[in-house]
Amino acid sequence: MFASCADPASLEGLSWLMCYLTSGKHLLFYASFGTVLLLLIITAPIALLFGFGGAMASRSPFWPLRWFGKIYTSMVRGVPDIVFFLFVPIALDQGFEWMRHQVLCDSDAPVRQGNDFVVCAAAKLPLSASPPWVHDVYAVFLAVIAFAIVFGAFAANVLYGAMQAVPRAQLETAEAYGMNRRQVNRRILIPQMWTYALPGLSNLWMILIKATPLLFLLGVEDIVYWARELGGAKTSAFSYPHPDWRLYYFLGILVFYLLMTWVSEKILGRVTRRLSQGQATLAGEAQRKAGAL
């Protein structure tokens, strides 16, 4: 990066470390922290949306929809989330390729031949001719979907509980005013439920942060990948030879996550206080009393 780093072998001490930490691969390592944050920012709203859909579906009066919602919300209860993280990306990938195979290929050959999954070249996703970044983006896309499905199911649990927690009397009052089902949902239920949902959602956010290193399992070049890559012992064939430093890299990642959870805890604490203002809950009542003094 710097001109003085042209010949690493001649460097020593602090300047060596400076050059080492700004080498091209290290810049990629720092960028991968951005990948993690990006995943969090993209996944959280999608998961919330999935969760909202799941929770609404399990309250639906139409039974097939209700059953779908119930199954979706309960699927994460008994099965480890890692199973889904391994299963969903492959399943989706094969699903997409199978559909494209039906449309784009004119061969009648079955997709599954023994232990192989064969589609014609035109149905490959991404196309083998496409540039490497398309492959990377596709991998991240599958990861986002996998995360959204799992955390959507978690969120659906939380939101369903929150909807049940909204006092019945409030909904009945709304009905007494002549509102129909949709109006009750939109005007009373949804605005009221957030204060009940927030403890669960905060928890979920923490779990989501702590699940991001699992990106590594999905083959995305994330921080764990780079920590293993950069930290491993380098012989003198490399420009910056060093012994096995993986421990320090992983300790760095550990500190990164501790900071993330610590900051989130502070922010979520503030949001909780803000949301319980004027609510008919213990926290809201405490705030009212403190204000009245």
Binding site: V76, V79, P80, I82, V83, L86, Q94, P213, Y257
Partner: protein, 274 residues
């Protein structure tokens, strides 16, 4: 090859008994069920010992966290923050690197050589991490329950002249357990599910002796078909989770047996309290 022969060959493959080579071609359902089930031994092993030892550590930590002395409280707080604030996946990596860095020949303590080699193996190293992890999460739950013990209970104990250890053992601890139990059940399920991470993190599977998810991903890789192996793992885990809930429900009934209004049924609602 018949299915019973497969079970004989691979039923205990995950602990190194039976056929050495994993099946490679003509994989049938029986082989997948057998091998994945055999891997479940490791999941149960990790979960059982982590919960058993972690339980005692967590009790000590919860008491330390509630202690008025900062010399006890601060380290307990730091420990709980460290293990609850970082991903288990990263904890596995850090611990493994730490264990690898220990001198191979062992450490000299008072003239005796303490072997450290076994810590780099999954059965011990990963178990240590899981114990510390569940101890931190459970300690937070127990601490919350300890703070929620009704004041009247303690006053009544004082009135009867119970003090110190006796008061803790007879009054405070049973109530604390009773209050903490639903959340603790939740934590136990989380921990059981987390055992699938062991062989996907830093710890290598020695001679392909892994847990159920390790074998499932092996099959998914061999057949390039995720729609068989992963649902089998899911099925096994659903059954185990139900058994776990049943066992914790028995304890819950015992803890609540003196309460009026019959015993509360322990419903598994994942409160996502982790």
């Amino acid at each position: 090859m018949s299915c019973s022969q497969t079970i004989l060959d691979y039923g205990l493959r995950s602990i190194g008994i039976g056929e050495r080579l994993l099946p490679k071609t003509d994989l049938n359902l029986c082989q997948q069920f057998t091998l994945i089930g055999s891997g479940l031994i490791w999941n149960v092993y990790f979960a059982f010992f982590a919960l058993l030892i972690g339980f005692f550590v967590a009790n000590a930590l919860a008491l330390a966290k509630a202690s008025p002395s900062p010399w006890l409280r601060k380290p307990a707080d730091a420990f709980i923050f460290l293990f609850r604030g970082s991903p288990l996946f990263i904890q596995f990596f850090v611990a493994y690197q730490l264990f690898v860095m220990l001198p191979r020949a062992g450490i000299e303590v008072f003239g005796m050589t303490v072997a450290t080699n076994w810590l780099t193996k999954a059965w011990a190293g990963a178990l240590v991490v899981l114990i510390l992890n569940t101890a931190a999460y459970s300690a937070q739950i127990f601490y919350g329950a300890l703070m929620a013990v009704p004041k009247g209970d303690i006053e009544a104990a004082d009135a009867y002249g119970l003090t110190g250890w006796k008061r803790y053992r007879r009054i405070i601890w049973p109530t604390m357990m009773r209050l903490a139990w639903p959340s603790y059940t939740n934590e136990a399920i989380f921990l059981f599910h987390a055992t699938t991470l062991v062989y996907f993190s830093a710890f290598p599977a020695f001679r392909q002796q892994g847990d159920s998810l390790y074998y499932a991903s092996y099959f998914a890789g061999q057949t390039f078909n995720p729609f068989v192996a992963y649902p089998i793992v899911a099925l096994y885990f659903i059954i185990c989770t139900l058994i776990l809930i049943g066992l914790f429900g028995i304890v819950n009934r015992r803890l609540n047996r003196h309460m009026p209004g019959a015993t509360r049924k322990l419903k598994y609602r994942p409160q996502l309290i982790r």
